[in-house]
């Protein structure tokens, strides 16, 4: 990119046929961008103006006052829509969102890097390949399907765990009404579904490392552990950093499907399953409060944006090559 911008272009990208050919080329290439550009403007950029609704007492559109015009009829209420932030309910959901994300970022990183390193040390490549294929499988399933998988174990009447608890003479746990277990269940589900994916990513980075570096280290008497610490991990660092930035940037975004369909939308579990995304959706569908749910969504995006900027800024200070932008 920098080459194209400087005045002295290398021979092969200098335009041929002068300015008119250049204009023609720019024109045709721009027409290619049009479909997706229109989509981006309509579905991604236009809603950004909708953020204004978080400062309005939103009036629903009617036949007489159709959609964009009803905004003019909605009175300005300042920060009133943000008052929800100071309720106990919203503190819970913020704690849940950030807490789960932070925990899963750390656990996911440790487990998948460890798995990838173990996998790369297996001598039977066929088995390693088989493990990889099996581990990656859950990544391709929807949370709705996963919720059925879980249901097969926890269903209050027929679930396998419930039946075996009864068979053992113990009182069966009413899983879908007992919040205490869900932080663990959700953690297991999240790791179960995503570990395979990140393991595969790290494994492909490890496979790309030049083997001669390990040989050199071995000749110098490095143990396998020392090789891992001094050869493998430094090579994985850029990827770890990039995935960390991306995840930290998304720390205020939760996986809607996981928190909504896996606990079967069970109300008694809300204290431990309510996250920003489900809160916005439930606030909107139950109360129809557009102003407040827009405000919550806006805060979510704003915090996410700030997080990703800070994370990226820190990384750029430490190691410019690893930063995202």
């Amino acid at each position: 990119m920098s080459m194209a911008r400087t005045g002295t272009r290398p021979e092969h990208i200098r335009p041929r046929g002068g300015a008119s050919a250049m204009r023609k080329k720019t024109f045709w290439l721009t027409t290619m961008m049009l479909p997706a550009t229109i989509w981006l403007l309509l579905i991604r950029y236009l809603p950004m103006f909708g953020i204004v609704m978080s400062f309005l007492d939103y009036k629903l559109p009617t036949r007489k006052v159709p959609f964009p015009l009803n905004l003019l009829k909605s009175p300005w209420v300042g920060l009133k829509n943000f008052q929800f932030l100071f309720t106990g309910e919203s503190l819970t959901m913020i704690r849940n969102t950030i807490g789960y994300n932070a925990l899963w970022i750390v656990l996911g990183l440790l487990i998948s890097v460890a798995f990838a390193i173990m996998m790369s040390e297996l001598s039977r490549k066929f088995l390693a390949k088989t493990y990889q294929t099996m581990m990656f499988f859950p990544y391709f399933l929807s949370w709705v399907v996963v919720s059925y998988f879980l249901f097969a174990f926890l269903d209050p009447t027929n679930g396998m765990l419930v039946r075996s608890q009864r068979a053992a003479g113990a009182a069966a746990v009413d899983w879908y009404n007992t919040p205490a277990y869900w932080p663990y269940i959700l953690t297991i589900c999240s790791l179960w579904k995503n570990t395979g994916y990140s393991t595969v990513l790290y494994l492909s980075a490890i496979t790309g490392i030049d083997r001669s570096q390990y040989e050199a280290a071995a000749v110098d008497g490095a143990t396998k552990w020392q090789q891992t610490v001094h050869v493998t991990l430094p090579h994985l660092k850029p990827m770890i950093v990039i995935l960390l930035i991306m995840n930290v940037g998304k720390i205020f975004n939760a996986d809607f499907g996981l928190f909504w369909s896996v606990p079967m939308n069970s109300a008694p579990l809300y204290p431990v399953t309510q996250v920003v995304d489900t809160y916005v959706y439930r606030a909107y569908t139950s109360t129809g409060n557009v102003g407040m749910s827009t405000a919550a969504g806006f805060l979510q995006n704003l915090v996410g944006f700030i997080c990703i900027m800070i994370a990226n800024g820190i990384v750029r200070k430490l190691d410019a090559d690893s930063s995202l932008f």
Partner: protein
């Protein structure tokens, strides 16, 4: 070392972890790998269990008796099921074709070093990855302004463009298309579109396959759009049908005593537990069958996307 590893017969292990350590690795990885597929196998077993067995011993890996009733019921669902199956396939295919076309058309000029507006358009798509209007404004724009409600467009359009896929596609262009080739085609008098379709696309087929698979998976697994925009049963994709079955079953089970006779009747005609598990099998089966073949492409794509993204 690699050749040594390949020839490794057990007695000679050059620069490898000890046998004991490797067995521990096998144990850990093997157990986790099994845990990843066992729930699916469990659901398959449940779908073939008889209702009797479930009443007696609950869901079990070894049911007391087997039965095909669940699948009979699934086929008796008739229209609702086939309609949803059709919807899922239609949404997946139409969505993927449109989405991949738009993705390739957007990514190609971004890769062209000689395209003047490349910086601007890169930013235009990249910025949406880090900031957005949020769920409710997007919902209002799609529904009230663009008329996406109770139609196929509502299930397809909101997912058409993915900046992530654009980055993957652009990287594929960068790594596999030599710039001289475009130059040569231009000298031969080929227009931009002709160059793209005739010269460039055949080279980046693996990239297209990758993006197409990721998109298709996204559409196949989608249910949130249906939750937001669709209330008409005719339009339900399979995933949503499944979710709704669960919801109805629970609602009726909880309230059957209150509703009385009509409620009891409704409970009796409920999709049975095994039948719902059979529908799960129907959803996962296409993925499970195709998965070993497309895994390679997806790994390539995700690796690129997450590193360059």
């Amino acid at each position: 070392m690699t050749t040594a590893a390949k020839k490794n017969t057990g007695a000679f292990r050059l620069n490898m972890v000890s046998r004991k350590t490797e067995s521990v690795f096998h144990l850990i990885l093997g157990l986790f790998a099994l845990a990843c597929i066992i729930p699916f196998i469990f659901v398959i077993i449940i779908s073939f269990s008889s209702e009797n067995s479930i009443r007696q011993i609950g869901y079990s890996f070894v049911p007391s008796s087997w039965s095909l009733d669940a699948y009979r019921q699934v086929f008796n669902l008739g229209d609702a099921l086939w309609r949803s199956y059709f919807n899922s396939f239609f949404i997946t295919i139409a969505g993927t074709v449109l989405s991949v076309t738009m993705c390739v058309l957007y990514a190609y000029p971004l890769f062209r070093k000689d395209y003047k507006l490349r910086g601007f358009f890169s930013f235009l798509s990249f910025f949406t990855m880090i900031f957005g209007g949020g769920l409710i404004p997007t919902y209002i724009v799609c529904k009230n302004l663009l008329g996406m409600s109770n139609n196929y467009a509502a299930l397809i359009v909101p997912m058409l463009v993915s900046p992530f896929n654009i980055i993957i596609m652009r990287t594929f262009f960068q790594t596999s298309v030599p710039f001289d080739l475009i130059e040569a085609a231009t000298i031969d008098g080929s227009g931009e579109y002709t160059t793209l379709v005739r010269v460039i696309l055949p080279i980046v087929k693996p990239g297209i396959a990758t993006v197409a698979l990721l998109t298709a998976l996204g559409y196949w697994n989608e249910w949130f759009l249906c939750l937001l925009y669709v209330t008409k049963r005719d339009l339900y994709p399979l995933q949503y049908l499944l979710m709704e079955m669960q919801r109805n079953a629970e609602f009726l089970a909880r309230n059957s005593s209150m509703i009385g006779a009509s409620g009891a009747q409704a409970v009796a005609s409920l999709p049975s537990q095994t039948m719902r598990m059979a529908v799960v099998v129907f959803i996962v089966l296409p993925i499970a069958c195709a998965y070993p073949f497309f895994q390679r492409y997806v790994v390539a794509g995700l690796t690129i996307g997450s590193v360059k993204g």
